[in-house]
Symmetry: C2
Subunit: 189 residues, 2 copies
Protein backbone atom coordinates (compact mmCIF):
# COMPACT_ATOMS: atom_id res chain seq x y z
CA UNK A 1 0.00 0.00 0.00
CA UNK A 2 1.19 3.50 -0.83
CA UNK A 3 2.02 5.35 2.35
CA UNK A 4 1.55 9.04 3.07
CA UNK A 5 4.73 10.39 4.64
CA UNK A 6 4.73 13.79 6.31
CA UNK A 7 8.24 15.11 5.77
CA UNK A 8 9.37 18.19 7.65
CA UNK A 9 12.32 20.13 8.95
CA UNK A 10 11.43 21.77 12.25
CA UNK A 11 12.87 23.61 15.22
CA UNK A 12 12.78 22.28 18.78
CA UNK A 13 9.66 24.38 19.35
CA UNK A 14 7.90 22.85 16.34
CA UNK A 15 8.15 25.58 13.69
CA UNK A 16 8.62 24.90 9.97
CA UNK A 17 9.35 28.57 9.22
CA UNK A 18 9.85 31.98 10.80
CA UNK A 19 6.76 34.23 11.03
CA UNK A 20 7.71 35.71 7.59
CA UNK A 21 7.92 32.22 6.02
CA UNK A 22 11.71 32.04 5.76
CA UNK A 23 13.48 28.78 6.53
CA UNK A 24 17.12 29.92 6.62
CA UNK A 25 17.69 27.90 9.82
CA UNK A 26 17.20 24.65 7.92
CA UNK A 27 20.58 23.55 6.58
CA UNK A 28 21.23 20.01 5.31
CA UNK A 29 23.68 18.53 7.82
CA UNK A 30 26.75 16.59 6.73
CA UNK A 31 25.94 12.93 6.12
CA UNK A 32 22.22 13.48 5.64
CA UNK A 33 22.38 13.77 1.83
CA UNK A 34 22.24 9.97 1.45
CA UNK A 35 19.14 9.79 3.68
CA UNK A 36 17.42 12.48 1.61
CA UNK A 37 18.41 10.66 -1.61
CA UNK A 38 16.98 7.34 -0.35
CA UNK A 39 13.84 9.14 0.76
CA UNK A 40 13.26 10.79 -2.61
CA UNK A 41 13.87 7.42 -4.33
CA UNK A 42 11.01 5.90 -2.30
CA UNK A 43 8.36 8.44 -3.35
CA UNK A 44 6.81 9.46 -6.67
CA UNK A 45 4.31 12.06 -5.47
CA UNK A 46 4.68 15.28 -3.52
CA UNK A 47 1.77 17.14 -1.94
CA UNK A 48 1.76 20.56 -0.37
CA UNK A 49 -0.63 23.30 0.61
CA UNK A 50 -1.19 26.72 -0.90
CA UNK A 51 0.87 28.58 1.69
CA UNK A 52 3.91 26.35 1.05
CA UNK A 53 3.27 26.92 -2.66
CA UNK A 54 3.24 30.72 -2.11
CA UNK A 55 6.47 30.55 -0.09
CA UNK A 56 8.08 28.46 -2.85
CA UNK A 57 6.98 30.94 -5.52
CA UNK A 58 8.56 33.79 -3.52
CA UNK A 59 11.80 31.84 -3.08
CA UNK A 60 11.85 30.95 -6.80
CA UNK A 61 11.43 34.65 -7.68
CA UNK A 62 14.44 35.41 -5.45
CA UNK A 63 16.49 32.55 -6.94
CA UNK A 64 16.48 30.69 -3.57
CA UNK A 65 14.43 27.69 -4.74
CA UNK A 66 14.42 25.84 -8.04
CA UNK A 67 10.78 24.74 -7.76
CA UNK A 68 9.38 21.22 -7.61
CA UNK A 69 11.87 19.75 -10.06
CA UNK A 70 12.26 15.99 -10.00
CA UNK A 71 10.71 12.81 -11.31
CA UNK A 72 7.68 13.07 -9.03
CA UNK A 73 4.15 14.26 -9.58
CA UNK A 74 3.35 17.41 -7.60
CA UNK A 75 -0.07 18.35 -6.19
CA UNK A 76 -0.98 21.66 -4.58
CA UNK A 77 -4.04 21.76 -2.31
CA UNK A 78 -5.94 25.04 -2.54
CA UNK A 79 -9.57 25.97 -2.14
CA UNK A 80 -8.88 29.39 -3.71
CA UNK A 81 -6.74 28.62 -6.80
CA UNK A 82 -8.34 27.13 -9.94
CA UNK A 83 -7.90 23.36 -10.09
CA UNK A 84 -6.09 21.55 -12.91
CA UNK A 85 -2.56 21.17 -14.30
CA UNK A 86 -0.17 24.08 -14.87
CA UNK A 87 3.51 24.94 -14.34
CA UNK A 88 4.33 21.26 -13.82
CA UNK A 89 1.91 20.95 -10.89
CA UNK A 90 -1.67 19.79 -10.39
CA UNK A 91 -3.91 22.05 -8.32
CA UNK A 92 -6.50 20.21 -6.23
CA UNK A 93 -9.71 21.48 -4.59
CA UNK A 94 -10.95 18.13 -3.21
CA UNK A 95 -10.80 17.11 0.43
CA UNK A 96 -7.58 15.30 1.39
CA UNK A 97 -9.60 12.14 2.19
CA UNK A 98 -11.36 12.02 -1.22
CA UNK A 99 -8.12 12.77 -3.03
CA UNK A 100 -6.17 10.10 -1.13
CA UNK A 101 -8.83 7.45 -1.78
CA UNK A 102 -8.33 8.02 -5.52
CA UNK A 103 -4.56 8.22 -5.50
CA UNK A 104 -4.14 5.14 -3.31
CA UNK A 105 -6.13 3.07 -5.83
CA UNK A 106 -3.45 3.74 -8.45
CA UNK A 107 -0.19 1.79 -8.28
CA UNK A 108 2.89 3.83 -7.36
CA UNK A 109 5.51 4.66 -4.79
CA UNK A 110 4.90 6.48 -1.53
CA UNK A 111 3.39 9.96 -1.29
CA UNK A 112 5.19 12.76 0.51
CA UNK A 113 3.26 15.53 2.22
CA UNK A 114 5.89 18.24 2.38
CA UNK A 115 5.89 20.91 5.01
CA UNK A 116 3.14 20.78 7.57
CA UNK A 117 0.89 23.51 8.89
CA UNK A 118 -2.78 23.75 7.96
CA UNK A 119 -2.69 20.95 5.36
CA UNK A 120 -0.98 18.66 7.91
CA UNK A 121 -3.86 19.38 10.28
CA UNK A 122 -6.39 18.41 7.57
CA UNK A 123 -4.46 15.20 6.85
CA UNK A 124 -4.29 14.35 10.58
CA UNK A 125 -8.00 15.11 11.06
CA UNK A 126 -8.74 12.50 8.35
CA UNK A 127 -6.03 10.15 9.78
CA UNK A 128 -4.19 10.06 6.44
CA UNK A 129 -0.62 10.30 7.76
CA UNK A 130 1.15 6.91 7.88
CA UNK A 131 4.65 8.09 8.71
CA UNK A 132 6.40 11.17 10.05
CA UNK A 133 9.93 11.98 8.85
CA UNK A 134 11.10 14.77 11.10
CA UNK A 135 14.40 16.56 10.93
CA UNK A 136 14.88 18.59 14.12
CA UNK A 137 17.34 21.49 14.30
CA UNK A 138 18.60 22.51 17.77
CA UNK A 139 17.05 25.94 18.03
CA UNK A 140 14.07 27.50 19.73
CA UNK A 141 12.66 30.10 17.34
CA UNK A 142 10.21 31.64 19.81
CA UNK A 143 7.65 32.24 17.07
CA UNK A 144 6.80 31.05 13.57
CA UNK A 145 4.61 28.77 11.48
CA UNK A 146 3.72 25.61 13.37
CA UNK A 147 4.20 22.14 11.90
CA UNK A 148 1.18 20.81 13.87
CA UNK A 149 -1.40 23.57 14.44
CA UNK A 150 -3.95 22.46 17.07
CA UNK A 151 -7.26 20.94 16.00
CA UNK A 152 -7.12 17.20 15.32
CA UNK A 153 -7.74 14.07 17.42
CA UNK A 154 -4.95 12.21 19.25
CA UNK A 155 -2.79 10.11 16.90
CA UNK A 156 -0.34 7.56 18.30
CA UNK A 157 2.92 6.60 16.62
CA UNK A 158 5.84 4.22 17.03
CA UNK A 159 9.43 5.39 16.82
CA UNK A 160 11.06 3.53 13.95
CA UNK A 161 14.35 5.39 13.50
CA UNK A 162 16.44 7.89 15.39
CA UNK A 163 19.71 9.24 14.01
CA UNK A 164 21.84 12.22 14.95
CA UNK A 165 23.80 14.43 12.55
CA UNK A 166 25.94 16.66 14.71
CA UNK A 167 23.38 18.73 16.59
CA UNK A 168 20.52 17.76 14.29
CA UNK A 169 18.16 14.88 14.85
CA UNK A 170 16.47 12.72 12.24
CA UNK A 171 13.38 10.79 13.35
CA UNK A 172 11.01 8.40 11.63
CA UNK A 173 7.68 7.57 13.26
CA UNK A 174 5.07 5.12 11.95
CA UNK A 175 1.36 5.52 12.75
CA UNK A 176 0.17 2.98 15.35
CA UNK A 177 -3.48 2.41 14.43
CA UNK A 178 -4.01 -0.78 16.46
CA UNK A 179 -6.16 -0.22 19.54
CA UNK A 180 -3.83 -1.51 22.24
CA UNK A 181 -0.84 0.82 22.23
CA UNK A 182 -0.62 1.05 26.02
CA UNK A 183 -1.46 4.75 26.00
CA UNK A 184 -4.87 6.06 26.84
CA UNK A 185 -6.75 7.96 24.18
CA UNK A 186 -8.82 10.48 26.06
CA UNK A 187 -11.82 11.98 24.37
CA UNK A 188 -12.04 15.75 24.45
CA UNK A 189 -14.81 16.86 26.83
Amino acid sequence: MRKVILGCGITLDGYIARPDGSTDFLVMPKGAAKVAEDFYASIDTIIFGRKTYDAMQRMMAQGEHEGPVGPWKTYVFSRALPSGERDGMTFVKESPAAFMRQIRRKPGKHICHMGGGELARSFLQADLVDELWMHIVPILLGDGIQIFPAGFPQRDFKLRECKTYGNDLSLVYARAREKNTGRKTKKAR
Copy 2:
Protein backbone atom coordinates in the same frame (compact mmCIF):
# COMPACT_ATOMS: atom_id res chain seq x y z
CA MET B 1 28.15 27.55 38.09
CA ARG B 2 24.67 26.35 38.95
CA LYS B 3 22.75 25.58 35.78
CA VAL B 4 19.06 26.06 35.10
CA ILE B 5 17.68 22.91 33.52
CA LEU B 6 14.26 22.95 31.90
CA GLY B 7 12.94 19.42 32.40
CA CYS B 8 9.84 18.34 30.54
CA GLY B 9 7.86 15.42 29.22
CA ILE B 10 6.18 16.36 25.96
CA THR B 11 4.30 14.97 23.01
CA LEU B 12 5.58 15.11 19.41
CA ASP B 13 3.49 18.23 18.93
CA GLY B 14 5.06 19.95 21.93
CA TYR B 15 2.37 19.68 24.60
CA ILE B 16 3.09 19.16 28.31
CA ALA B 17 -0.56 18.43 29.10
CA ARG B 18 -4.01 17.96 27.58
CA PRO B 19 -6.25 21.05 27.43
CA ASP B 20 -7.67 20.07 30.88
CA GLY B 21 -4.18 19.84 32.38
CA SER B 22 -4.00 16.05 32.59
CA THR B 23 -0.75 14.26 31.74
CA ASP B 24 -1.91 10.63 31.63
CA PHE B 25 0.06 10.10 28.39
CA LEU B 26 3.36 10.54 30.25
CA VAL B 27 4.44 7.15 31.54
CA MET B 28 7.99 6.48 32.75
CA PRO B 29 9.43 4.05 30.20
CA LYS B 30 11.37 0.95 31.22
CA GLY B 31 15.04 1.72 31.79
CA ALA B 32 14.51 5.44 32.33
CA ALA B 33 14.27 5.22 36.14
CA LYS B 34 18.08 5.36 36.48
CA VAL B 35 18.23 8.48 34.29
CA ALA B 36 15.58 10.19 36.41
CA GLU B 37 17.44 9.15 39.59
CA ASP B 38 20.75 10.59 38.31
CA PHE B 39 18.96 13.75 37.28
CA TYR B 40 17.35 14.30 40.66
CA ALA B 41 20.72 13.67 42.35
CA SER B 42 22.24 16.54 40.32
CA ILE B 43 19.73 19.19 41.45
CA ASP B 44 18.75 20.68 44.79
CA THR B 45 16.16 23.21 43.66
CA ILE B 46 12.89 22.86 41.74
CA ILE B 47 11.03 25.80 40.22
CA PHE B 48 7.60 25.86 38.70
CA GLY B 49 4.85 28.26 37.78
CA ARG B 50 1.47 28.84 39.34
CA LYS B 51 -0.45 26.79 36.77
CA THR B 52 1.79 23.74 37.34
CA TYR B 53 1.27 24.34 41.07
CA ASP B 54 -2.54 24.40 40.58
CA ALA B 55 -2.42 21.18 38.51
CA MET B 56 -0.29 19.54 41.22
CA GLN B 57 -2.73 20.63 43.95
CA ARG B 58 -5.61 19.09 41.97
CA MET B 59 -3.69 15.84 41.48
CA MET B 60 -2.74 15.74 45.19
CA ALA B 61 -6.43 16.18 46.12
CA GLN B 62 -7.24 13.20 43.89
CA GLY B 63 -4.38 11.12 45.29
CA GLU B 64 -2.58 11.14 41.92
CA HIS B 65 0.46 13.15 43.06
CA GLU B 66 2.37 13.12 46.33
CA GLY B 67 3.48 16.75 46.06
CA PRO B 68 6.99 18.15 45.87
CA VAL B 69 8.49 15.60 48.29
CA GLY B 70 12.25 15.22 48.15
CA PRO B 71 15.44 16.74 49.44
CA TRP B 72 15.18 19.79 47.20
CA LYS B 73 14.01 23.33 47.80
CA THR B 74 10.84 24.16 45.86
CA TYR B 75 9.89 27.60 44.52
CA VAL B 76 6.56 28.55 42.96
CA PHE B 77 6.45 31.65 40.74
CA SER B 78 3.18 33.54 41.04
CA ARG B 79 2.28 37.19 40.73
CA ALA B 80 -1.14 36.50 42.32
CA LEU B 81 -0.34 34.32 45.36
CA PRO B 82 1.21 35.86 48.52
CA SER B 83 4.98 35.40 48.60
CA GLY B 84 6.82 33.55 51.36
CA GLU B 85 7.19 30.01 52.71
CA ARG B 86 4.30 27.63 53.30
CA ASP B 87 3.40 23.95 52.72
CA GLY B 88 7.08 23.13 52.13
CA MET B 89 7.34 25.58 49.23
CA THR B 90 8.52 29.16 48.77
CA PHE B 91 6.25 31.43 46.76
CA VAL B 92 8.06 34.04 44.68
CA LYS B 93 6.79 37.26 43.10
CA GLU B 94 10.13 38.53 41.69
CA SER B 95 11.07 38.42 38.02
CA PRO B 96 12.85 35.19 37.01
CA ALA B 97 16.01 37.22 36.18
CA ALA B 98 16.19 38.93 39.60
CA PHE B 99 15.44 35.66 41.39
CA MET B 100 18.08 33.75 39.43
CA ARG B 101 20.75 36.38 40.09
CA GLN B 102 20.23 35.83 43.82
CA ILE B 103 20.01 32.06 43.75
CA ARG B 104 23.07 31.66 41.53
CA ARG B 105 25.16 33.61 44.05
CA LYS B 106 24.52 30.90 46.65
CA PRO B 107 26.45 27.62 46.41
CA GLY B 108 24.42 24.58 45.47
CA LYS B 109 23.53 22.00 42.86
CA HIS B 110 21.67 22.65 39.62
CA ILE B 111 18.20 24.17 39.46
CA CYS B 112 15.36 22.41 37.68
CA HIS B 113 12.58 24.37 36.03
CA MET B 114 9.85 21.76 35.87
CA GLY B 115 7.16 21.82 33.27
CA GLY B 116 7.27 24.60 30.74
CA GLY B 117 4.52 26.87 29.49
CA GLU B 118 4.31 30.51 30.46
CA LEU B 119 7.13 30.39 33.02
CA ALA B 120 9.39 28.70 30.43
CA ARG B 121 8.66 31.62 28.10
CA SER B 122 9.68 34.11 30.84
CA PHE B 123 12.88 32.15 31.48
CA LEU B 124 13.68 32.03 27.75
CA GLN B 125 12.94 35.74 27.34
CA ALA B 126 15.59 36.44 30.00
CA ASP B 127 17.90 33.73 28.52
CA LEU B 128 18.02 31.85 31.83
CA VAL B 129 17.75 28.30 30.46
CA ASP B 130 21.13 26.52 30.28
CA GLU B 131 19.92 23.03 29.42
CA LEU B 132 16.82 21.31 28.10
CA TRP B 133 16.01 17.79 29.26
CA MET B 134 13.19 16.65 27.02
CA HIS B 135 11.38 13.36 27.17
CA ILE B 136 9.32 12.92 24.01
CA VAL B 137 6.41 10.48 23.82
CA PRO B 138 5.34 9.27 20.35
CA ILE B 139 1.91 10.84 20.16
CA LEU B 140 0.34 13.84 18.52
CA LEU B 141 -2.22 15.22 20.96
CA GLY B 142 -3.77 17.71 18.56
CA ASP B 143 -4.35 20.25 21.33
CA GLY B 144 -3.11 21.06 24.83
CA ILE B 145 -0.79 23.20 26.92
CA GLN B 146 2.35 24.10 25.00
CA ILE B 147 5.83 23.59 26.41
CA PHE B 148 7.14 26.62 24.46
CA PRO B 149 4.39 29.23 23.97
CA ALA B 150 5.48 31.80 21.37
CA GLY B 151 7.02 35.09 22.44
CA PHE B 152 10.77 34.94 23.08
CA PRO B 153 13.88 35.56 20.94
CA GLN B 154 15.70 32.78 19.07
CA ARG B 155 17.83 30.60 21.36
CA ASP B 156 20.35 28.15 19.88
CA PHE B 157 21.33 24.87 21.51
CA LYS B 158 23.70 21.94 21.03
CA LEU B 159 22.52 18.36 21.20
CA ARG B 160 24.40 16.68 24.03
CA GLU B 161 22.54 13.40 24.47
CA CYS B 162 20.01 11.35 22.57
CA LYS B 163 18.65 8.07 23.92
CA THR B 164 15.66 5.95 23.00
CA TYR B 165 13.46 3.98 25.41
CA GLY B 166 11.21 1.88 23.24
CA ASN B 167 9.12 4.46 21.43
CA ASP B 168 10.13 7.30 23.74
CA LEU B 169 13.03 9.65 23.18
CA SER B 170 15.21 11.28 25.80
CA LEU B 171 17.14 14.38 24.69
CA VAL B 172 19.56 16.73 26.41
CA TYR B 173 20.38 20.08 24.80
CA ALA B 174 22.86 22.65 26.13
CA ARG B 175 22.47 26.36 25.39
CA ALA B 176 24.97 27.58 22.77
CA ARG B 177 25.56 31.20 23.74
CA GLU B 178 28.74 31.79 21.70
CA LYS B 179 28.17 33.96 18.65
CA ASN B 180 29.40 31.63 15.92
CA THR B 181 27.01 28.68 15.91
CA GLY B 182 26.75 28.54 12.13
CA ARG B 183 23.05 29.41 12.19
CA LYS B 184 21.76 32.83 11.43
CA THR B 185 19.91 34.69 14.13
CA LYS B 186 17.39 36.79 12.34
CA LYS B 187 15.95 39.80 14.07
CA ALA B 188 12.18 40.05 14.13
CA ARG B 189 11.03 42.88 11.86
